[in-house]
Symmetry: C2
Subunit: 204 residues, 2 copies
């Protein structure tokens, strides 16, 4: 009953874009509304605050992206292959963004997490939650790789945290330098961190 609306979705898309291409602090409610083509009154009809909108937007986006990660990290794929596919996916994803926006933007969550870490507790927790999910994919693949004898990683969780730090560091570095080339080393770096022998590489 009553009228239907896609303003909620429009606002969520707008805030994601603005935060990612700029920052949380530089994104104002007025900008969000303008970008979404929604009046401020409607904004406050659907959301309590910018932080509230951001949490909803991030959560919705994660639900939308989840199947892609499920597919990349499917247990039906050989464990090291999962990482290769993930590196390839990350590169293509960032490259696509770059041709759209003219800028390399890195991980949508990591920079935001660092920015709001000392404020915006609710947002912070949501980011943390999703980043933790990401770690689970890594950990599971590492455990499988270890079990298959492809790598030596008795502590899969620790290895996953290492790899996670490396990935996020690299993606953020690509953003800071605005240079996609940084990501070319991702696959080699991954295999090196994992301690996996690379095809035709020089590591011993």
């Amino acid at each position: 009953m009553g009228r239907v609306s896609d303003a909620r979705e429009k606002l969520m898309n707008a805030v994601r874009e603005l935060i990612w291409t700029g920052s949380y602090g530089s994104t104002t409610i007025d900008h969000i509304c303008e970008r979404a083509g929604v009046k401020k009154g409607s904004f406050y009809y659907f959301f309590e605050s910018k932080a509230d909108l951001a949490v909803a937007a991030i959560d919705a986006e994660w639900q939308r992206r989840r199947p892609e990660l499920d597919s990349l990290f499917s247990p039906s794929v050989p464990p090291l292959e999962r990482f290769r596919k993930y590196c390839d996916y990350s590169y293509r994803f960032q490259d696509e963004i770059r041709s759209k926006c003219g800028c390399v933007l890195g991980c949508p969550l990591f920079a935001l997490g660092a920015e709001v870490s000392t404020r915006e507790d609710r947002l912070q927790k949501k980011i943390q939650e999703i980043l933790d999910y990401k770690g689970m994919y890594f950990e599971s693949a590492i455990r499988d790789a270890h079990a298959a004898g492809l790598i030596h990683a008795p502590d899969a969780a620790a290895k996953a945290r290492m790899l996670f730090a490396y990935y996020e560091g690299l993606l953020t570095q690509a953003r800071i330098q605005n240079d996609i080339a940084v990501l070319r080393e991702m696959e080699t770096g991954t295999m090196s961190v994992l301690g996996a022998a690379e095809a035709g590489a020089a590591t011993k």
Copy 2:
């Protein structure tokens, strides 16, 4: 001739603190002035803008911290020992900040760089410049370690970039989680990334 003043320095200290404990976007000129105990008129007497002040502050801080890094990464110290000392130093540094501010704050430049990457070009370039210096210490130590036969790293620059991404990722993760424990793995992780055998560790 004329009167002397430390307002410039006070402003630079204030902006560093505020950006680091919060973010660039959430730091206003009014806040900076208040924190520094300096009136806004004086701010504009010394600086053109927030970005201008930030660049000056970051540069001055780098000049102040440089000797510490020179000492940690002194060629007179065995190469792998340099990394061990750096990890130890990083941990103690972050722990000190945490007891002062109640928050783990990570690298003062990396989060800022990610935040302003798509805006504030001058600031961006200054950050990039200093982060590049940091990479030089790593690269040199890796080259020395390779030459000494302690590790196998024919491409020292590539290895340095890897380690850099790992460090910054880990420090940022510590900030996001507001948890110093994240940094406990730094040394182990470093040696693993470098491919150096750890004392009494289980890798192989």
